[in-house]
């Protein structure tokens, strides 16, 4: 083998091994993140964390019970607002849409999708908070605005992937269009749609920036949806920036809970989707 060829072969080996290194590096990042959070957060997770309210800085026995409940409330409300709107819009785009209008809606949805979440927070601040004060509802609205375009596009995607023959079969049997959609197409696309929804909800439950100027924060139990409400991501943020070691421990613990929740939802969603694909003939 000539020298040049030997060099080419060696180069090939080196470069391909490097790509393997890159891949391993990328994957290991996930485990590094999880590892740090489990190590630091796991030590700080105790019964107090889930049941007690935050205490003034410097005092022990603090917890984040209000933030956990607050996050659930805000995300739940955002889901109740955002999922139906996104779902319906997605159905329109895939089943009823004309050419130009649907294109416009699609374009706007993608636009909205790409808007940094902090800009959405500003929008909700100018429109809602300035008139109605900081509240969980404002926070939920901001999150819903993020959820809607994600849900709309993913719903549309999975609805489109249902073969036209299913629709035609139902129509040939005399079903009206909406009945076809409701009883044939949606159930066929149900797995993908559900996956998209779960992923979207997981995404918004980790969002912090839009909550900063809408639901603010609260060291007590929230007084209701129209009051400032604590949330896990905001708590992680404020506690990470503080000097108190106790608050740092709490930040790790909250981060761990948040990450586990998000990861669990993501894994569940992907399993649903993959199982669905395996089952479909």
């Amino acid at each position: 083998m000539t020298l040049r060829n030997r060099w080419r072969k060696t180069l090939s080996y080196i470069m391909l091994s490097l790509t393997g290194v890159c891949a391993v590096l990328a994957v290991s990042l996930l485990f590094v993140i999880l590892g740090y959070l489990i190590y630091n957060g796991g030590r700080s997770l105790d019964w107090n964390f889930f049941t007690k309210l935050p205490k003034p800085p410097g005092e022990n026995g603090s917890g984040m019970a209000n933030a956990i409940l607050g996050s659930i409330q805000i995300v739940l409300l955002a889901t109740l607002i955002g999922l139906p709107v996104g779902f319906m819009a997605g159905i329109y785009l895939s089943e009823f849409g004309g050419k130009t209008f649907a294109f416009l809606v699609r374009y706007m949805a993608d636009l909205l999708n790409g808007v940094p979440s902090i800009v959405i927070g500003i929008f909700v601040w100018t429109v809602v908070v300035r008139r109605f004060h900081f509240s969980a509802i404002a926070g939920a609205l901001a999150l819903a605005l993020i959820l809607i375009p994600i849900t709309a596009r993913s719903t549309e995607q999975f609805m489109i992937s249902v073969p036209q023959t299913l629709r035609e079969g139902a129509l040939a049997l005399g079903a009206s269009k909406w009945k076809t959609i409701a009883t044939v197409v949606v159930p066929a696309a149900y797995r993908g749609i559900a996956t998209g929804m779960i992923l979207g909800v997981a995404r918004i439950s980790g969002e912090t920036a839009p909550l900063l100027f809408t639901s603010l924060n609260n060291q007590f139990w929230s007084g209701g949806l129209s009051q400032p409400t604590a949330s896990l991501p905001v708590m992680v943020y404020t506690h990470a920036l503080a000097p108190y070691d106790d608050w740092h421990r709490q930040a790790w613990a909250a981060g761990l809970v948040l990450l586990l929740g998000v990861l669990f939802a993501n894994i569940a969603a992907r399993l649903i989707l993959s199982r669905g694909i395996a089952v479909q003939k």
């Binding site: 072969k9 090939s12 080996y13 470069m15 391909l16 490097l18 790509t19 393997g20 890159c22 891949a23 990328a26 994957v27 990042l29 996930l30 485990f31 993140i33 959070l37 709107v85 319906m88 819009a89 329109y92 009823f96 649907a102 416009l104 809606v105 706007m108 993608d110 636009l111 909205l112 790409g114 808007v115 940094p116 902090i118 800009v119 500003i122 929008f123 601040w125 100018t126 429109v127 005399g174 009206s176 909406w178 959609i181 995404r203 439950s205 980790g206 920036a209 900063l212 100027f213 991501p233 943020y237 990470a240 920036l241 740092h248 790790w252 998000v262 990861l263 993501n266 894994i267 992907r270």
Partner: protein, 324 residues
């Protein structure tokens, strides 16, 4: 089940409005149309609000808002340049680090890895994309900042300190650290989209190169990757769009100094972090509206980059089914 509405009086083409209404289809169409329109309305309202609420600085400074580098609430001078600079620099650092690693990993996953490892790895990498920004920030403060401050930046200063970008005080917080965490956050997007682009390359490309005597690497690098380059560029633009708008992680480590610095070690600022930090407390209308003006700049930047990304990705998939 045939209803009388659909059976009676069939026209030459579609059904009449009344017939559609009776069968419930028109209602369904109108309801879903309403929801779809709401997306349109919200987006329009968003742009409108941003535009209107940033009128003052536009009136007062005009285009110099974008080119002025002084941000001084005391004297009422607001210029966007330090933040545009910070946003661009940190994103550039992020891409500089993430693109080689990301494309490399994508090549491995698409070309070399056996199918099961490839899907397992891809699964984990997609999970990485789901980690919330604030968690990256949390990790960055307690693990990355000390690492940069105590090891990486001093090393860079010792070896490459003659370059202005690697000179100056080392805080740990600053453009470089922000760029590194952004690199980690954008890596999964580059990998997963590039991998899909690479998988779409027809095997003939690969095989032709190998048949001509190319090494495995040469076949990959010179035959496969160029074919997928549109998709790969698309993934890079997408990653860029995300990096531009990332707020929490960057806010927590960039150092919050609204000045332009040459050194990457220096604390700086970017558009999303200053909005996050100063929005709730901007006293005075000009101040607040200048922040909204920054948000508008960010909005336009991400819209343009996202559009480019999508064009590139669409071009790839269309190309995949057509011929070059």
């Amino acid at each position: 089940m045939a209803t009388s509405a659909t059976v009676s009086a069939p026209r030459s083409g579609g059904r009449s409005f009344v017939q559609r209404l009776r069968s419930g289809d028109e209602i369904a169409r109108l309801i879903t149309l309403a929801f779809a329109t709401s997306i349109l309305l919200v987006t329009v309202a968003l742009v409108y609000e941003l535009w209107v609420t940033s009128a003052l600085p536009r009136q007062k400074f005009g285009l110099s808002f974008l080119t002025s580098s002084s941000w001084d609430p005391v004297s009422g001078q607001f210029g966007a340049l330090p933040f545009i600079y910070g946003t661009v620099i940190t994103s550039a650092i992020a891409l500089f680090i993430a693109v080689p690693i990301g494309v490399g990993a994508a090549i491995f996953l698409a070309e070399l890895a056996p199918a099961r490892i490839s899907s397992a790895f891809t699964f984990f990498i997609e999970l990485l994309a789901a980690v919330p920004s604030v968690i990256y920030g949390l990790l960055a403060i307690f693990t990355l900042v000390p690492l940069m401050r105590d090891y990486v930046e001093p090393f860079l200063r010792k070896t490459l300190g003659f370059l202005p970008i690697f000179s100056g005080n080392i805080y740990g917080y600053g453009y470089l650290t922000a760029g590194v965490i952004l690199a980690v956050m954008t890596l999964p997007f580059i990998i997963s989209i590039s991998r899909e682009a690479l998988l779409e390359v027809p095997t003939e490309q690969r095989e032709a190169a190998l048949a001509l005597g190319a090494t495995r690497w040469e076949s990959t690098w010179q035959a496969v990757v160029p074919w997928a380059r549109l998709g790969i560029f698309g993934s890079i633009f997408l990653a860029l769009a995300r990096a531009l708008g990332e707020t929490m992680a960057v806010t927590m480590v960039i150092g919050n100094d609204p000045t332009i610095h040459a050194s990457l070690f220096a604390p700086g600022y970017a558009i999303a972090p200053i909005i996050a930090n100063e929005f709730t407390e901007a006293t005075g209308d000009l101040y607040l509206q200048s922040l909204v003006g920054l948000a508008l700049v960010l909005f336009f930047l991400t819209v343009v980059i996202n559009a480019l990304a999508r064009l590139l990705i669409i071009a790839t998939t269309r190309r995949g089914s057509a011929h070059p």
